[in-house]
Point group: C2
Amino acid sequence: MGFEGADPGTVRPGGRTARVRAAVLRAAGDALAEGGFAHLDLADIARRAEVGKTTVYRRWGTVTILMADLLMDMAEQSLPRTETGSLLGDLKANARLVQRTLADPRQGALFKAMIAAATCEAKTAEALRRFYDIRVKEWAPCVQQAIDRGEVPEGTDVHEVIRAVSAPLYYRLLTSGDRLDEAAADRAAEAAAAAARAGAYLRGQEGRV
Amino acid sequence: MGFEGADPGTVRPGGRTARVRAAVLRAAGDALAEGGFAHLDLADIARRAEVGKTTVYRRWGTVTILMADLLMDMAEQSLPRTETGSLLGDLKANARLVQRTLADPRQGALFKAMIAAATCEAKTAEALRRFYDIRVKEWAPCVQQAIDRGEVPEGTDVHEVIRAVSAPLYYRLLTSGDRLDEAAADRAAEAAAAAARAGAYLRGQEGRV
DNA sequence: CGATTAACGAAACTGGAGTCCCGTTATGGG
DNA sequence: CCCATAACGGGACTCCAGTTTCGTTAATCG
């Protein structure tokens, strides 16, 4: 008697199963970028992926679970980080990378949809959190280097500085219709650098008023 | 022969029509706060509002249009702005207000849902944009006063400073599961103030690298 | 206060998203 | 290479969100 609790796709993950997963994730990305997260249904994704809709329902079940899987997949493809030797230079490189990603029609729509989906389902929210944790950890060392150089005060929360670069770009993407241009990216980097130098991201200041 | 193009609710807006609108918007807010924007259907809202579902479908038609209406309604209820005499004090007051709103279970869920809905429908996105434009314009004068006092350089984009206060709070709300506490609010205000003083929000610097 | 008709609401209807059944394909172990 | 069975896929089925129909209630105007 076999172990019936095993999820489909876990016992024979090679060959066809892997091809189906790749095709479905690809199709899901296309559909999300086009129609947004609301008018998304698994039957349509199955059609695009040229896969039986039964398969999609069996392996993923709901739109939000599929999106969590897609997010995991995206998290694995990490982009190389450049080093410029100054905090402002590094933060600008990061800001430009985020800005280019969000300004790209397909990617931008994809990220918007992901954030929307995360507001609806805990599973997806958790996947999104992990995705950004990975990205933030990748870039945090450049702030540590700035601390070592004496550019930024000791005790600065390095992760918070990286998040501060992305925050205004995402805020603009989500709450205004304005285009995300390079000026916005540079401004985000400059603001984060200036605030970090001024000691705005010091840890353990919670009690202070 | 009457004008057939008039939308329902526009010719006789008083009495029952107004009561129905209030009840439906109220119910929509409750439903959003509980279930999030994905598992939302108009039939359920009609039930909560003790109103015929036909009415809801006729007057709003889709979830996103209803949410746009709810957003308009929320935009009208504006909170009074306090003045403390210093840029940091004013920005902290603003940050605390935003933080309290987003940390509140009902309101926080509501805002998340609104942002999610705006990613799916242009109409809702436009309503959301207007909502934040109003809020930002309300608070911008405190930055202008800081410019007049010489705290912040001439030529600073006052709206951008206000947005910079909210951005990290919204970013945290949407991309991490962490609680929004007062420390986060204060840090957002301090960072925005420091960056503004350093001239990070000067207008017309687009060409600069 | 009475007539007009805007707006509401109950009930029947419809289409398609999501489920179930069962036959087919091809993976991975022996 | 072959077998057991994991995983896929077509097609029938179900169920409910959203629509249509038509009768009822009440807002506005004189």
